[in-house]
Symmetry: C2
Subunit: 217 residues, 2 copies
């Protein structure tokens, strides 16, 4: 059976590929696995049928032959475990690539997403203007550490892999800011990720959903 994932019927990111179906689509493209997409509305996401697959009422989910998964990181890892292309054969290198996946989601993403949470929930508060620089200082500190580690390497640990896929995905959330500008190696790293043919195919696929939803296709 072709795996089926869920994605936003109308993504709040307006087709920028920042929703969490993007890393899953990208992973499918990297390993050459066909997939189907079921689009869900915001209302449907919060209903019991979807919550049975995703307890937190979010996308994406993954279904194949009776297996139901959620969490983009877990789905990308599952895809990477089933087909070659995203994880090295060598067991140690494989463990390190998986460590970078966790790192992207646990050590970098929460720092980055705090800025978005503040915007969505506090931008009308009197303290917002003072809080944003505090949040951005934490983002810069984390980016500085990542930048020093990456140095002039092309990818985080040898060849491109699932860890890079997740890290580039997380860093792309800063695309509409100038926060990456001070770290030219990270900006170039993100650009290398976005230039991959598999990324382009995934991006176009999710962008077509936005165009259709907005009546532009």
């Amino acid at each position: 059976m072709t795996p089926i994932i869920t994605a936003f019927e109308a993504s709040p990111d307006e087709g920028q590929g920042l929703a969490r179906d993007m890393p899953v689509r990208w992973a499918f493209e990297e390993v050459g696995q066909a997939y189907d997409v079921r689009l869900v509305s915001f209302a449907a996401m919060k209903e019991a049928a979807h919550r049975a697959r995703q307890p937190f009422g979010q996308i994406p989910t993954y279904e194949e032959d009776g297996l139901v998964l959620f969490e983009s990181g877990a789905i990308v890892l599952h895809i990477a475990n089933r087909r070659p292309g995203l994880l090295p054969e060598n067991a140690d290198a494989r463990a390190r690539a998986i460590a970078w996946m966790f790192s992207a989601l646990s050590s970098v993403e929460p720092v980055v997403v705090e800025r978005e949470i503040a915007f969505f929930t506090e931008r009308d508060k009197p303290w917002y203007a003072e809080r944003v620089p505090m949040i951005e200082a934490r983002i810069r500190a984390r980016l500085g550490e990542l930048s020093r580690y990456l140095g002039d390497a092309e990818w985080l640990d040898g060849a491109f892999g699932a860890g890079d896929l997740m890290m580039v995905t997380v860093l792309r959330r800063l695309s509409d800011t100038d926060l990456l500008e001070a770290f030219s190696n990270l900006a170039a790293y993100v650009a290398r990720g976005e230039a991959r043919p598999a990324f382009r195919r995934a991006f176009e696929a999710q962008h077509r959903v936005f165009l259709a939803a907005s009546g532009k296709a």
Copy 2:
């Protein structure tokens, strides 16, 4: 070679088992794997030698036969992949257990940790008193979703596994609050985790480090 992990020489949690070496110690105990611990000071954590192992200058790290890993989630998964006890044999059940690990770290922990970040960085700010209830409302919403999913089940997906280990670890960060009280099934779930002999052994091991550091042992 016996794996070596790093842990705080003087944990800021004062031996409550809330530092990130705790889930790794717990995983070792669940699978019956002996391990060594190298304690690091706050100063040493930020030095180049440690950052070569952990780019963000944090604990824990994991070293064994030339393999160096970081990220508690990745280390727990590595331990679980090497020895039976934390992941089911069945491939689908295994993928679901891993999904719960990602869920604990990506969907629950950032919401929970936001409260701690606010305390450490904003408790002297005029807006702190108004922000805390906003943060706690988000924590309650997430706990409510998890509570509805868990229902009256003992663990998240069948037998106790790596997903439960990470989820209980994350929920324990709320131990000093009353936020779990409204969700009696989650409070009982955490208590079941803490009652496991492997948890107790891990807890005692990290607590002895605190006692020694504070001159109480």
